[in-house]
Symmetry: C2
Subunit: 132 residues, 2 copies
Amino acid sequence: MNLHHIAIAVRNLDEALAFYQDALGLELAERRAVPEEGVEIAFLPAGEAELELLQPLSAEGGVAGFLEKRGEGLHHICLKVPDIDAAMEQLKAGGARLLSDAPKTDAHGTRYVFVHPRSAHGVLLELYEVRE
Amino acid sequence: MNLHHIAIAVRNLDEALAFYQDALGLELAERRAVPEEGVEIAFLPAGEAELELLQPLSAEGGVAGFLEKRGEGLHHICLKVPDIDAAMEQLKAGGARLLSDAPKTDAHGTRYVFVHPRSAHGVLLELYEVRE
């Protein structure tokens, strides 16, 4: 169960990249808008995992709400799992609360689910199915 | 510049391990008290990087203050750098604020420094020198 990415909520992607790319020296692999999720994302690989900077495209949605409430900072982490159905069953059996009853599917056809921060000790935890 | 670890502040290590180890299925590699930092830590590898659960040993110190103010959750992330002096120079040149003027050295003789969250867009960012 390897780490896939760490997401960081920021108000302005250009300003955040001035730090993470220019001053810190991480490489910018890709930057694109994901309108269906209401965010623009910059991907910065850091070894096997990557940092994802998230800027909301409007004042609506989860990331905008997070910024309003908590300010910029660490938003969620994502772990790769080989079988998301099995992982969800195991979590439910352990009493964990998931944000959806069934996995969702992203634009690449990858299945994912979020664990409620209340179950994961304050961490918004995403599970991403990568069959290897 | 690879990710080394993600630290998660928790109130009770046993309860957090009931989720991260038992329900989620991560492996517990090590658990030990670090009295000089005022915390007990559990290390859970997640691929190349690892999750570190931090429980304060008393009501004093940074992690206890974090829990008091923000509750449980993502506390900091740590990146490996090959040359911490060069990384610090580059960050200072870029206007970033560091939490100490010189690197500190941990019990294993490894040099590290923290970047102020104000410079890293809300993220408490640790740099850890690993010469490879």
